[in-house]
Symmetry: C2
Subunit: 359 residues, 2 copies
């Protein structure tokens, strides 16, 4: 799912997102609750009409935002008190309010309010948060009557806790399952171990959604562990920085080697950038900070990830996913640029707190 | 003509410019000569292919840029020596080089190199510059063999000089005539007086192009004085600041009064912004600095000006232009915001030296 935190996939029009063949996109309830306000969106005809998106929309409840980046963040079972990152105003967010917001937006798939902890939290706090998330989910189900609402599995990096939480939620027959609290600072080893523990417990006939992931290599690794859905700011965020996904890893179109390249970055790609413009032109746009460059690169990266899911789907159907995965991961070179500061920037934007354009 | 100085109309895709029904757009030879280089553009298949624009393209020669904003700017009859605004490198620009650059770009309409002076220059320097522009035009015609090249009328704010220059050029049977050296700091009275003096001398069966103009009210005033063609950064520049053209004047969509407005800024407008999005949504985009807002407002403003030309054309055909002009100018309130600093900013961007996005 391309990420449209505030009701717009950064830099892109709805038509351009359609051109990537995205089937669904994500918006964020916390952000839209604060601005422009969920009731205003409802009065404007709902989020689909507001942003003129013709397909389904999934909303994150804002649990991640409320706990990770809003100020204050005082939590008890009744809900969480926080200060707006925009104007410092105080708000009390509850499971019921999270559902009310998402109902007003009119989304197709809602998320319950969950208690999100930092990646490497100790077992005690992780258990408290997971138990609270379970109690909150029960309240969300009541409040969400008639609204398709996934359950979110928490439990930090603690395998037994993850397993217990997944089993509890699996028994509640949710229409879909999210895996939360990963890709938030823990190690890759922990992330994949937890993913495997959780997916083993979830019903096979319900979609599994790994929240906030990811990069091409992460998508392949996650699908291999039974994940079906993803959302990530990475394709649009990297796109605005000129970084393009290819099967060999990322390539930055600002690099001088593209200055006079008449071809596309990927001859197999059917995106607008690859079929209509030379790398020389996109390089020229980036060298001059022209907004069209951000757009074309964002389109390519989203389309790249969606083509990757198409290729994985075909491999699964053909019974050749293991070979596909091995070949893909053997060839793909993860970016050296994926430094700590880049991780932090990605994490900030995943929360929707980042400025829309670089430079 | 929407302005695509560097081979892209700021913030917009070719398809979006097509959606405004623009029939032709402008690029700048000076800028493309410096970056990425006209020879590179030629090797990439020419400017149409490079930027994937399906219609005609007119290029400014860069005379305005070379004289107004590049450093050094030492001129004699052989040409003008200047330093690049990008890297300080020294260049010698001649009438012949200006035509070579535009031929390499492969534009449909080229401009000769002209000697441009500040708006209120005295009669002596203005005469020297006009005479040089005439001599250069003769050289450009030779160098431009086979390339459609307009003549450019100079002469500052001196009526007799303008008249003399226009007559000299009219006798040379150019395929079209540009009026240069206006809208560069002189008074509106001088601008319109000079325009009327010049158009009276030009052949009626050749297009007259008032360079660097303009606002809605300027277009109506100029058409009333016999002008046919315009280029200006104003629609896209103002669009990126949230300022929208309407028949009543400009309205800034950031204004709180649009916060919950479900309608378009102009019910008669058929642009993408007015037909698909509420003002409330565009307001929301601007409040959050989302790039889609810049795009939608730019599209609306370009379409507004093109609709204005359609309305003027219809009025001319119906023999009712005088009434249309009176009614339009009676209703349209020119912006109070058109301050000196805004003029300067517009002038800077008209030269292509401004950053692409606000904030």
């Amino acid at each position: 799912m391309p990420v449209g935190t505030l009701g717009t996939v950064k830099a892109l029009s709805p038509d351009e997102v359609v051109s990537t063949r995205a089937q669904i996109l994500l918006v964020n309830a916390y952000h839209l609750y604060l601005r422009p306000g969920h009731e205003l969106v409802a009065r404007m005809g709902g989020i689909h009409r507001f942003m003129d998106w013709p397909g389904p929309i999934l909303s994150d409840s804002g649990g991640f935002q409320v706990f990770s980046l809003a100020r204050l963040g005082k939590v008890d079972d009744s809900g969480v008190r926080f200060r707006s990152h925009i104007d410092g105003s105080e708000h009390f967010y509850t499971p019921e309010l999270a559902m009310e917001v998402q109902r007003a937006l009119g989304v197709d798939i809602a998320m319950p309010l969950d208690h999100v902890l930092p990646g490497e939290s100790a077992a005690g706090p992780a258990r408290d948060a997971a138990e609270r998330t379970l109690r909150w989910y029960e309240r969300c189900r009541v409040a969400a009557e008639g609204l398709t609402t996934f359950a979110i599995v928490q439990g930090g990096v603690h395998a037994e806790l993850r397993q217990w939480h997944a089993r509890q939620l699996a028994a509640l027959d949710a229409p879909g399952y999210s895996i939360g609290g990963l890709s938030v600072g823990e190690s890759k080893e922990d992330m994949w171990a937890m993913t495997a523990v959780v997916t083993a417990e979830l019903p096979v006939d319900r979609p599994r959604y790994l929240m906030g992931v990811g990069s091409p290599e992460d998508l392949v690794d996650a699908v291999g562990r039974g994940v079906d859905m993803f959302d990530c700011v990475l394709p649009t965020r990297l796109g605005r920085n000129g970084s393009l996904f290819t099967d060999d890893g990322r390539a930055n179109v600002r690099n001088a080697r593209f200055r006079e390249d008449p071809g596309p970055i990927d001859a197999a790609c059917d995106c607008i950038m690859c079929t209509r413009f030379s790398l020389a032109y996109v390089h020229h746009l980036f060298r001059n900070d022209e907004l069209l460059g951000y757009r074309l690169a964002s389109i390519h990266n989203i389309r790249y990830l969606l083509r990757l899911t198409e290729r994985m789907r075909a491999a699964i159907r053909a019974g050749t996913f293991a070979e596909f995965s091995e070949e893909f991961l053997g060839r793909y070179r993860p970016a050296d640029e994926a430094t700590r500061s880049e991780q932090k920037a990605k994490w900030l934007e995943q929360s929707g707190f980042e400025a829309p354009a670089p430079g």
